[in-house]
């Protein structure tokens, strides 16, 4: 069953709205948003360069979680797993790019979607063969179990770690894309592929590297999430749609758009889950609010997307270099 959407969000705390709870939920939202950014970054970079729609991207997130579970079990060292699993998954993504994605650059989106849907099913089945249908738990080292006092509020140490890792990787990817020679080639290929090729940029090589880079980022997100829930097969199917929502809201082609949209989506989801019940109580009966809140809050990010698109059909940060469709 692919029904239980993984939530790396604490629902602990009292039901009353107060400053400390709000702060905790904001941190949770930030953490969730950063994880979403790690998944969405690869998706938006690949889409930005070649209009390539990759439904299989979520599978790299799932693989990251499983690989980190295996490395932790083998070596006993979770930090090692966190470092290695993005590399392993990036290498695993190379044949996927070479044999499924690359022949379809420039093909119709329909065909790309069909092929990457197939790729997703293949990777799910392979993961099922390797790791079985049961989830794999990942134990955290003891020093990450405690709480950290921050501005008078006790926050789980592991969530702080996720925020720190997420922020630094986000900064690093911005640096890579906007401040390095490689990033310049990526942006050139995204702006005008033919022109970039005319200037001697090997766009196929750029594309292959950015594909592997994106897969690695998604794997990192998976490895970070695994200790909170567990590595399971459904992860691939759940995260990909939310990542799509993020890049649609962000305007589909820029890292900046994806970053801001990821944080907005993360916050919307977390705050919706935490406070919608209470908010509905003010207008509905307690019983009606209790029934409606879970259904509405699980749709909150899609409602958010619908509102954004109703106002700006091409997302918050539409690409400037290409014509709008």
């Amino acid at each position: 069953m692919r029904t239980v959407l993984h939530r790396p969000i604490g629902q602990e705390g009292t039901r009353t709205m107060n400053g400390a709870l709000l702060f905790t939920q904001l941190v949770n939202g930030l953490q969730y948003g950063l994880l979403l950014f790690l998944v969405a970054a690869g998706l938006t970079l690949v889409f930005g360069i070649l209009d390539f729609v990759n439904l299989a991207h979520g599978a790299f997130y799932m693989l990251g979680a499983f690989v980190s579970a295996s490395i932790t079990a083998l070596s006993g060292s979770w930090p090692l797993a966190l470092l290695l699993s993005p590399l392993v998954v990036a290498i695993l993504s190379v044949p996927a790019e070479r044999f499924v994605a690359r022949p379809l650059y420039g093909a119709s989106p329909l065909v790309q979607v069909l092929a990457t849907f197939g790729l997703l099913l293949v990777m799910e089945a392979l993961a099922m063969i390797v790791w079985g249908t049961e989830g794999r738990g990942v134990p955290l080292p003891s020093w990450l179990h405690g709480h950290v006092e921050f501005l008078g509020v006790a926050l789980p140490a592991y969530r702080i770690l996720i925020v720190l890792v997420g922020l630094s990787v986000a900064v690093a990817s911005f640096w890579l894309v906007y401040r390095t020679r490689f990033g310049m080639q990526v942006r050139a290929a995204a702006a005008n592929r033919a022109m970039a090729e005319a200037l001697g940029i090997d766009t196929l090589a750029v594309e292959a590297r950015i594909f592997a880079f994106g897969a690695g980022l998604a794997a990192l997100a998976g490895a970070l999430v695994a200790p909170l829930s567990e590595a399971n097969l459904a992860m691939a199917f759940e995260v990909i749609i939310i990542a799509f929502v993020v890049i649609i809201v962000g305007g589909l082609a820029s890292l900046k758009g994806a970053f801001i949209a990821a944080l907005l989506v993360g916050m919307t989801d977390t705050l919706g889950r935490a406070f919608l019940d209470d908010a509905l109580r003010t207008v509905l009966s307690a019983e009606a609010a209790e029934t409606a809140a879970p259904a509405i809050s699980s749709m909150s990010i899609y409602l958010f997307m619908a509102v954004v698109l109703a106002i700006k059909p091409s997302g918050l940060f539409p690409p400037r270099t290409r014509e709008l469709r």
Binding site: T3, L55, L110, V111, L114, L119, V122, I248, A310
Partner: protein
């Protein structure tokens, strides 16, 4: 460069199906599909005669899936709108039946409680149409891959809505205590259920065939080829596409209502996005734009699912590989591969498009 891609797409999806690449092949495929349809119509008698009720069950499932496929093919074949959220309508139609019946049995919500099949179909159609209007107003402002992703996200919204309906089973879904009641026929009889599904399929096929050759159909096909030009010529492109979207959504919702009655069970997974992917696969396999194409697609899908899942629990592996192969073939990528084997230079010039 973009224009070229666009025309490339239209040409490919119009002409090619993996089974019929020539005129003659297409005619043979059409005969096969008509034979399948005749087989479906006579299935209740055949299965009684051959004493194989299982095949009737499979035939009913095939008819319902094919009807949903036809409704998606209306969008893809006529207007070139690739929706990845079509399964949401199946979920809406299914739950319309299930919830009305649930209240009829367990009380509450007197305005909704009913055992009447006509009421169920009306409710399913109405809700499907309403959802199509709401989402179409937003999604149809975009094109191509944007449309695809937005419909995907909207479809998932219904999935989570249905999962959140704790009263009606939540994630676990809902078993129907009885089926829709129609005057004169009982759906508990497998034959009647089957004929209702086949009737739905035939109506959907006739609708597509009629629309295709009508003036509106021609205008819609014009928007598929070049919707900017159609707009410049003064045609109300947005309104026509919204109308088509509503029609397709209503049909899909009705097929969902049939599916709920057939299985006597509904669950959120009816609306899951992978279901939408299955529907897309069926339409493409049969050749999008061919009126009877979804029959081929649905038949192959049902057989694959049945055969592969009985052989191995890892049936997603061969199914996924097949999807990849169909897509590569459809994009002409397999030609590129074979050309590359012969001449590397030729392949390089292929890739820069």
């Amino acid at each position: 460069m973009r224009e070229r891609h666009h025309q490339h797409t239209v040409a490919k999806t119009n002409v090619l199906t993996p089974f019929a690449t020539s005129r003659k092949g297409a005619r043979l495929l059409l005969y096969a599909e008509l034979a399948l349809l005749a087989l479906l119509v006579t299935a209740p008698w055949l299965s009684t005669w051959l004493k194989m009720p299982f095949w009737l069950d499979l035939g009913t499932r095939l008819s319902i899936l094919a009807m949903a496929g036809v409704s998606l093919n209306l969008l893809m074949g006529l207007a070139g709108l690739v929706s990845f959220g079509h399964a949401a309508f199946l979920g809406i139609g299914g739950y319309a039946v299930a919830i009305a019946l649930w209240h009829a049995v367990y009380g509450g919500a007197p305005w909704l409680a009913s055992e009447s099949g006509l009421f169920h179909l009306g409710l399913a159609a109405g809700l499907g149409a309403a959802w199509a209007v709401l989402t179409g107003l937003v999604a149809l402002r975009t094109r191509g891959v944007h449309f695809l992703m937005i419909t995907l996200a909207f479809g998932q919204m219904i999935y989570y809505l249905l999962s959140g309906l704790e009263t009606y089973g939540g994630d676990d879904g809902l078993t129907l205590d009885l089926r829709s009641q129609f005057p004169g026929i009982t759906l508990d009889d497998a034959g009647s259920m089957h004929w209702l599904a086949v009737a739905g399929l035939i109506i959907a096929l006739l609708l597509h065939a009629g629309l295709r050759s009508s003036l509106i159909g021609l205008m819609l096909r014009g928007t598929k080829a070049d919707d900017r030009r159609m707009r410049a010529l003064g045609y109300p492109v947005f309104v026509m596409q919204l109308g088509l979207y509503v029609l397709a959504g209503t049909l899909a919702s009705l097929s969902g209502a049939l599916a709920a009655n057939h299985a006597a069970y509904v669950s959120p997974s009816m609306a899951e996005w992978t279901r939408s992917g299955d529907l897309l696969f069926m339409v493409i396999l049969g050749g999008s734009g061919r009126v009877t194409g979804p029959l081929t697609g649905a038949a192959i899908f049902v057989i694959l699912e049945e055969v592969l899942s009985s052989f191995t629990r890892y049936w997603h592996l061969p199914f996924g590989l097949l999807l990849i192969a169909v897509a590569l073939y459809q994009a002409g990528a397999l030609d590129i591969v074979s050309k590359r084997l012969h001449s590397k230079d030729a392949a390089e010039t292929e890739m820069d498009g």
